[in-house]
């Protein structure tokens, strides 16, 4: 018996940094400098031996792999709390990458509108980095990011770089501001009226808390973006990652195999999706 689909491969966590009040970014290296070979939007199952396993969207792009990849982890459960206590050099088990990512080929030549909310940014960051590393292949790059509070803005330095770039239209908003915040205040949908787009040539990508999707979808559809050009990355508790355990099922769809990336056209009639 060499391996099974449930056997994690032990990898090394080489760096960790804070990015939010409950969020850290982990840099992970597979053995022998091997690349994860993922596509943006795919996820990995991460093990802390003795504690358990949990799924995370890969937060970095294949174009920046350099023998490692990043995941962003919010401290909310057993596995994530154990990860937050780890120091660089610790080992983590990895299975994957799993699932259907973003179809980047279908996005080439198109204007891209990214609308992540809160912890929805990390999986989209994987695609955004890839797009920026092949910047000439895409039209406009519009990023509208919303979080609840200023300190919850993740990847702040990278966002500032995106804001500063001439070839990226990046706007950030927070639901409630404070004395440290001189930017836009309001929920993510308040950023949409100021953005004018050519809907036929625009692909929209969104990921965020369940409550956010319906409102963002209304904005995207209101701008005339076709349902087949709106991509969502959905969160479920994928225990196995390989379509067996049943936990991630969304009506007839398996989030871990059919997703986690879906078009709105795919899930429009799928009642349990949002």
């Amino acid at each position: 018996m060499t391996t099974t689909i449930y056997t994690p491969e032990m990898a090394r966590m080489v760096a960790v940094r804070d990015t939010g009040p409950l969020e850290k970014v982990f840099t992970i290296e597979l053995p022998d400098g091997r690349s994860l070979d993922h596509s943006p939007g795919q996820f990995v199952e991460v093990s802390v031996l003795g504690v358990g396993e949990a799924p995370f969207g890969v937060a970095s792009s294949p174009s920046r792999s350099n023998g490692s990849f990043e995941i962003c982890v919010r401290r909310v459960g057993d596995v994530t709390n154990a990860m937050h206590r780890m120091q660089p050099g610790a080992s983590l088990g990895i299975r994957g990458p799993f699932g259907e990512g973003f179809p980047i080929e279908k996005m080439r030549g198109k204007d891209l509108l990214f609308a992540p909310g809160g912890m929805g940014l990390p999986p989209l960051r994987s695609l955004i980095q890839q797009v920026l590393d092949e910047r000439g292949s895409f039209g406009r790059v519009i990023i509208l990011y919303g979080t609840k509070r200023p300190e919850e803005v993740l990847f702040r330095e990278e966002l500032d770089e995106w804001v500063a770039r001439d070839d990226v239209e990046c706007r950030i908003t927070v639901d409630r501001g404070d004395e440290t915040w001189d930017g836009h205040v309001g929920v993510i949908t308040t950023l949409f009226p100021d953005v004018s787009i050519n809907p036929r040539n625009t692909v929209a990508v969104t990921c965020g808390p369940p409550i956010m999707y319906r409102f963002v979808l209304m904005e995207l559809l209101g701008k005339g973006i076709p349902e087949t050009q709106i991509y969502l990355s959905l969160e479920r508790r994928m225990k196995c990652g390989v379509g067996k355990c049943g936990h991630c099922q969304i009506n007839n769809l398996y989030c871990c195999q059919d997703g986690p990336v879906f078009t709105y056209a795919q899930i429009k009639g799928v009642e349990e999706a949002l």
Partner: protein, 340 residues
Amino acid sequence: MSLRILDKGAVAPLINALRADYRVVGPKAKGSAFAFGPITDPAQLRLDYDTTILPPKKVFQPPEERLVTFTMQGQVEPVVDAEPTVLFGVHTCDLHAIALLDKAFSQDYADAHYLERRKQTTIVSLECLEPCDEHSFCKSMGTLTADEGYDLHLTDLGPAYAVDVATEKGEQLLARYGTTSEATDADVRRLNEVLGAKWPRFTYRLNFDAAELPALLSTAYDHPLWDELAERCLACGSCTNVCPTCYCFNVYDEVNMALTEGERRRRWDSCQLDQFASVAAGENFREARSARQRHRFMRKGKYLYEKFGELGCVGCGRCVRTCVAEISIVDGFNAIHRAA
């Protein structure tokens, strides 16, 4: 492949001979009911059983099992616990269920744990000649008989069993461990009589053709039945535990007292339990009990069919028999059909 005759007096010697090289599992009495378990004495084997509490899926996917062992230093080893097994006395409804599980555990990603046990198991199934009780509806689900899925298949001819030898694995097992004779023309006539005579004893319980289930359920998403069931359902998960085609599981780690090594294990889980579809931040995507009952009905009558080309319900009646709230999947299917 061929038809052999196994005298009933030759069953005990066969079991004894098999026990030297195999774990033999078959139906045994358990209180007032029956359950599949290890046969350590041929007298334990009850081929006259009606139904079992748990289906034989537990031979291939035990309620709990190890997936990997590990040391806290990071040594990880996959574990596949399997041993040569003869599974005796499987009814045809359960054969159909095993056929579905075979697909579930081999499609896309091969599950070595299930498949290795499946590979090391020889299935000796048994034709049902009488309905097990009022809860089964195998005739409606098309599982009252089976053309495949077994290595050897027994039909009770009175003093002897007719043995349909379906695979080389079955043929070799019988040749090596059993004493059988070639079926005569009279045996074949008797077999056909027995098989023909059984059909009128079973009744149709579904008021429509089971092939219509996927289409019927696709119109029933907002049916009032789900709320009615939710009023009665205790969300105990018994229905999914006893279902021969339910295979959902949870995965968890266990560590020894010295905190030096541990195991990653899986155990049966149930979409009827309230936390099944929840995520870490607290969102529960199937919070309402009505949505969970709907999910079970949809999986049995529609989703699994769409994924594997087989209905997820084989009409064994176990979920109906075990439900303390007396929820009946066949009554539910009929109610949806009446409303359609």
